[in-house]
């Protein structure tokens, strides 16, 4: 097992190098190169900041030297200063925003796990039933619906018309004055819609995947054997079929990291949630190149992490993988 993990870890090194290369190339693809700074109409400030940035990026040096410096800086997560008016270091801005994005994504993964898997299992076990058919329709609709549209509709319905849930931000104005329980409840209420929307696409995918896996597993010989042995249906389902069907699920959860991150751009912007996705959107709109590159790279790291965890989880569950 340890050998498997260490082998996997070693494999990530070329990936990291590749990520740095792609990021580096992208930065230089931008018009005006990594600079392109100075959105003020202040000639003097612009000239100074341009000079500073030129030195920082070493733009007068040959390309491979620049790349070397970029690699070194990337390793320390030093992405430079943001181009936005506050000019703070990119990594600092990202660090403030990551917790909330991760919280929402982890919660939505939990949601997916808790809802999609039972739905998928039940649909498989009761294949062809009304439940199965309805859930299939729901799943397909879920695949096809644009999440930003759904977000708007839900905001109007739950936020304005019914007034049940707050429609923006992550805490109320008087958050500080609430007790601990109150604070948790307040955060919770603010997170309901974002988490629901973040998980929505994943819900559909996961339940479908679970269903098809279950179906495949159910048809297998060992299930037939278990049935033939006269074991109650429930044991058959839970003990034998589900355990094997669940294996890929862990992988899927790990692999869904990039999609969740990407989706966060949309719903964080719509719900005014101060997370990494909203920061990224603002960076894109204001062509804040250091910020864009920073978030892109960190997003890649997180995805890599998710993949790694997924593979490890898969190996843990399935001994066949571990051997080789």
């Amino acid at each position: 097992m340890l050998r498997y993990i260490s082998r996997r870890l070693l494999l990530t090194i070329p990936l990291l190098v590749g990520i740095s290369l792609v990021s580096f190339l992208m930065m230089h693809m931008a018009p005006g190169g990594p600079i392109g700074a100075g959105t003020d109409l202040n000639p003097k400030a612009t000239a100074e900041s341009r000079a500073r940035l030129k030195a920082y990026y070493g733009l007068d040096r040959p390309l491979h030297v620049q790349y070397g410096r970029w690699l070194g800086r990337m390793a320390t997560l030093d992405f430079g200063d943001s181009f936005s008016p506050d000019g703070r270091p990119v990594v600092e801005k990202i660090r403030e925003r990551i917790p909330i994005t991760l919280t929402i994504n982890v919660l939505s993964m939990g949601l997916i796990f808790l809802v999609a898997i039972p739905v998928g299992v039940y649909s498989a076990v009761r294949k062809g039933s009304l439940f199965d058919r309805i859930s299939t329709v729901a799943v397909f609709t879920g695949f096809a619906i644009p999440t930003f549209w759904l977000a708007l509709l839900m905001m109007i319905l739950f936020g304005v018309k019914l007034g049940w849930l707050p429609i923006s931000g992550i805490s109320s104005l008087d958050h500080e004055s609430l007790g601990t329980l109150g604070k948790i409840a307040d955060r919770g209420r603010h997170l309901v819609l974002p988490v629901l929307l973040a998980g929505f696409g994943g819900l559909a995918g996961m339940s479908r995947y679970t269903r098809s896996n279950m179906l495949e597993v159910i048809r297998q010989d060992y299930v037939a054997t278990a049935r033939a042995k006269g074991l109650p249906e429930r044991t058959v389902v839970f003990r034998h079929a589900m355990r094997n069907a669940l294996l890929p699920v862990i992988t899927i959860l790990g692999l869904s990291v990039p999609d969740l991150l990407g989706g966060s751009v949309i719903f964080e912007t719509i719900f005014a949630i101060p997370g990494m996705g909203q920061l990224f959107y603002q960076g894109v709109m204001s062509r804040d190149y250091p910020l864009i590159m920073g978030i892109l790279t960190i997003g890649a790291f997180l995805t890599l992490l998710g993949n790694l965890l997924a593979d490890v989880g898969y190996a843990l569950a399935d001994p066949r993988i571990r051997q080789g």
């Binding site: 096809a144 644009p146 708007l152 990039p258 894109v284 190149y289 892109l296």
Partner: protein, 284 residues
């Protein structure tokens, strides 16, 4: 040989019998018609501004209402269909061609080329796709061509893996060995024997890919970095819808529905093709 007429006919028969897939196909055909013959469906000029009729609800004159500059929503949606389809097809075209090339080369030649290409695929897959698309568009600028290229260039990896898997398994099959024994060169084997057998999964991936591309384009346009106004796109009509959501429901509902139905159609067709191509997997 690959793809004898009997298999093709069975495939078609199975596909048509699948009602959901047929429905999907009908939807797709419908939107094809709409974008090919806009005049048939919309009588107004999509860019004709009419200040007097700003934000009118659906009526006889304007079946889907007017937008915030008095332009006919139906006409704009009809032209938006064109945009969506164009983006979907070109983007998926790019992705498919690229994915095919990489997958075929990787699977067929194996060894060193395979290792390098697959590492490259893994690396590309490390970047969250939407982030990558947004970044590239930030570096370039939002134009319909850039969007098509970017969606295509960030979506080929899945196809590549698929094609590689198929190629790997096909490589070992008898008919390939037979062809080789007959003295067929690599290129001939790849293009005449391997490629046709990968068509089914590619078709599935492509169909589902169009659906995804349409969703992505509409999300980009909604965020303001896709198709720029005044060119209509379902996504950017929804942006206006969001800004006027409380009193102009038609601007939000119809484009959203159109996206939903179109994407659903492609998804159903894609699933149908998958089922029809491999009846062993009928259980799915």
């Amino acid at each position: 040989m690959s793809g004898s007429p009997g298999i093709g006919r069975d495939f078609a028969r199975r596909l048509l019998r699948n009602r959901l897939a047929a429905a999907g196909g009908a939807v797709i055909l419908f939107f094809f018609l709409v974008s090919a013959l806009p005049g048939l469906f919309a009588s107004h000029d999509p860019n004709r501004i009419d200040i007097v009729n700003i934000l009118r609800p659906p009526s006889a004159a304007h079946p889907l209402g007017t937008d915030d500059l008095g332009r006919d929503v139906l006409a704009r949606m009809v032209h938006g269909a064109r945009v969506s389809l164009k983006v979907g097809f070109v983007a998926v075209g790019i992705a498919t061609v690229l994915g095919l090339l990489v997958g075929l080369l990787s699977g067929f030649y194996g060894g060193w080329a395979d290792a390098v290409l697959m590492r490259f695929v893994d690396m590309m897959l490390c970047f969250p796709t939407f982030f990558l698309i947004l970044s590239v568009i930030a570096f370039l600028e939002p134009s319909i061509w850039n969007i098509m290229a970017v969606i295509g260039l960030t979506g080929w990896m899945g196809v590549a893996r698929l094609v590689r898997a198929e190629t790997l398994s096909l490589k070992e099959r008898d008919f390939v060995a037979a062809a080789r024994a007959q003295g067929a060169g690599d290129a001939r084997i790849i293009f005449r024997h391997v490629l046709p057998n990968t068509l089914a999964p590619i078709l599935v991936a492509a169909t589902l890919g169009v659906a995804g591309a349409i969703l992505t384009e509409s999300a980009l346009s909604f965020l303001g970095i896709g198709v720029q106004p005044p060119t209509p796109s379902w996504g950017n009509i929804l942006t206006t819808g969001k800004d006027n959501i409380e009193y102009a429901w038609w601007l939000s509902v119809f484009p959203g529905l159109a996206i939903l139905v179109t994407v659903l159609g492609y998804n159903l067709l894609g699933e149908g093709i998958r089922d029809a191509a491999d009846p062993r997997l009928k259980g799915r």
